[in-house]
């Protein structure tokens, strides 16, 4: 399922910097994600991996740096360059995101969670939006839960609804921010199964995860981050054959 080396780029991050107060979280990150590529980002907590993911769809605005997507530049940009900037909202409509805490809308049903953006962003009619939403709920195996509210669903089911909510917008890239970290161990499998299916279907994915089994299996491009910088990147061999001592130390600590 891996793409070729020269896959057409979909997203390119250039020289991304981000600070929270005195805390310099991202120190000039560059990253290119190719069409159909499955990027796995891992590293110790506080290394900036979630922030990096969140700058990709500009949920977090970088202090400087540029996000290139589908021929347009987004974000604050790079000093000295004078390229036209796209609107963050346009970028987010084409990039899906799945959160650690699911963040389903608790006041509406599973179906309405998935249909909301179809109606409000794509301006679809209610009947059409609901049919499309039901199809995507079926895809994640939750057609029987259309009328359920998030509080009635297990964590795994909630996360699958959240994935459907993103997928229904037909994004070109899916971002996953530790999608299984908040789940009970017995519920991790069902979410990973949905992600595996998605990966096999050719979706471009960027995943921040601690699930090393999944990372090994799905990651075409694996990125180890620490203290706001990319320490090491590599293909599948990275997991058995890391060059950087910091990467090796991390593997030893978690395995």
């Amino acid at each position: 399922m891996g793409p070729t080396e020269d896959a057409r780029p979909v997203v390119r991050l250039r020289n991304i910097h981000k600070s929270f107060g005195a805390n310099h979280v991202l120190k000039g990150i560059d990253l290119t994600v190719g069409q159909g590529q499955h990027v796995v980002i891992f590293g110790p907590s506080g290394s900036g991996k979630s922030t990096l993911l969140r700058t990709t769809n500009l949920l977090e605005t970088p202090d400087s740096g540029s996000v290139w997507f589908d021929g347009k530049e987004y974000g604050p940009g790079i000093e000295g360059e004078d390229l036209p900037r796209g609107k963050a909202r346009l970028l987010r409509q084409q990039i899906g995101m799945v959160f650690q805490q699911f963040n389903l809308f608790p006041h509406i049903t599973a179906l309405d969670n998935v249909a909301l953006a179809l109606r409000r962003v794509k301006k679809m009619k209610q009947a059409d939006a609901e049919l499309q939403a039901a199809r995507y709920l079926a895809r994640v195996g939750l057609l029987d839960k259309v009328a359920a509210y998030p509080a009635q669903l297990s964590g795994g089911q909630q996360q699958r609804v959240a994935i459907a909510r993103s997928l229904v917008m037909e994004p070109k890239v899916m971002l996953f921010d530790e999608p299984t970290s908040a789940l009970d161990p017995e519920l991790v499998g069902e979410v990973l199964a949905v992600m595996r299916n998605l990966a096999e279907s050719g979706m471009t994915m960027v995943v921040v995860t601690h699930e090393m089994g999944f990372a090994r299996e799905a990651g075409d491009l694996n990125i180890f981050m620490d203290e706001g910088v990319v320490v090491e990147t590599g293909g599948r061999e990275l997991y058995d054959d890391a060059r950087e001592p910091r990467t090796r130390a991390f593997f030893e600590a978690i395995l």
Partner: protein, 270 residues
């Protein structure tokens, strides 16, 4: 001997029917009380939401200004405020304003401050993750606020807001001091004319009780109305919910059939 007059009054026979005989006077007061409470509360709800939003503004001027507004208007006793506006400001600056308008104005100003704080609490109780999720699917900031944050905040603020409405009904009696003929004013005028103090004020108490009890049940109804009900697994009584259940079931069947057809098509292809 010097309490002679008082004894006579105290010995007057209790005539509960007095309340019924003067129901029209009471009801005219009730009507005005309800009018003032509803109008002032509706205005205070709108302004309160504005106060809450401005209070959360990132603007360095607006947010402290709203904090000051809230602190000042919460701190002035309502009775003093009413008198100050109607006899103080209105006369000094020659503002033509009726007593009813002045009363509504004062109640609105003060209740906007209270409601503003309640609404701010409700809005801030909705987790930031909700906003992020809505933005992440491409919704705009206003859509995110009105479709995702506000509906959740409303559910949170219904009980405290209901309490405020009951408070408004009671506080509206304070505008009696500037001569607004609401329930308490018409009662006290009647009492002074007829000397039937016990019957009159008992009547006033009963009418206030009826109004606040009605408001209480109204709040209960709203809470129920906004409760989340799964129309497929719960026995639903409302025809609207039942129709929704039927629609969802049809939707499920349609999608299931679609998937069935698709999987058999791929099977034949193989």
């Amino acid at each position: 001997m010097f309490d002679f007059g008082v004894r006579i009054l105290a010995q007057a026979r209790f005539r509960p029917e007095f309340i019924w005989e003067n129901r029209d006077v009471f009801l005219s007061g009730v009507r005005l009380t309800v009018f003032i409470a509803i109008v002032a509360f509706a205005l205070a709800t709108v302004f309160g939401l504005a106060v809450a939003l401005l209070r959360m503004s990132k603007n360095r001027l607006v947010a402290p200004l709203m904090a000051a507004y809230i602190n000042i208007f919460r701190a002035i006793p309502l009775l003093v405020f009413v008198v100050f506006v109607y006899y103080g400001i209105a006369i000094q600056f020659d503002v033509r304003i009726s007593a009813i308008q002045a009363g509504i104005l004062v109640l609105t100003l003060q209740y906007s401050a209270w409601l503003g704080e309640i609404f701010r609490g409700g809005i801030q109780a909705v987790s930031d993750g909700q906003t992020q999720a809505a933005l992440s699917v491409g919704m705009s900031r206003p859509q995110t606020f009105f479709r995702v944050v506000l509906p959740q905040a409303i559910r949170i603020v219904i009980p405290p807001t209901g309490n405020m409405f009951i408070g408004m009904i009671k506080d509206s009696s304070l505008v009696f001091i500037i001569g607004v003929p609401e329930l308490f004013r018409v009662s006290s005028v009647m009492a002074n004319r007829t000397f039937r103090y016990f019957e009159v004020y008992l009547g006033a108490v009963l009418f206030y009780l009826i109004l606040t009890t009605a408001a209480y049940f109204g709040v209960k109804y709203l809470e129920k109305r906004f409760a989340l009900v799964d129309v497929l697994t719960t026995k639903v009584r409302s025809p609207l919910a039942r129709r929704r259940g039927i629609r969802l079931r049809m939707l499920q069947e349609a999608v299931a059939a679609e998937r069935e057809a698709e999987s058999s098509r791929t099977a034949t292809a193989i």
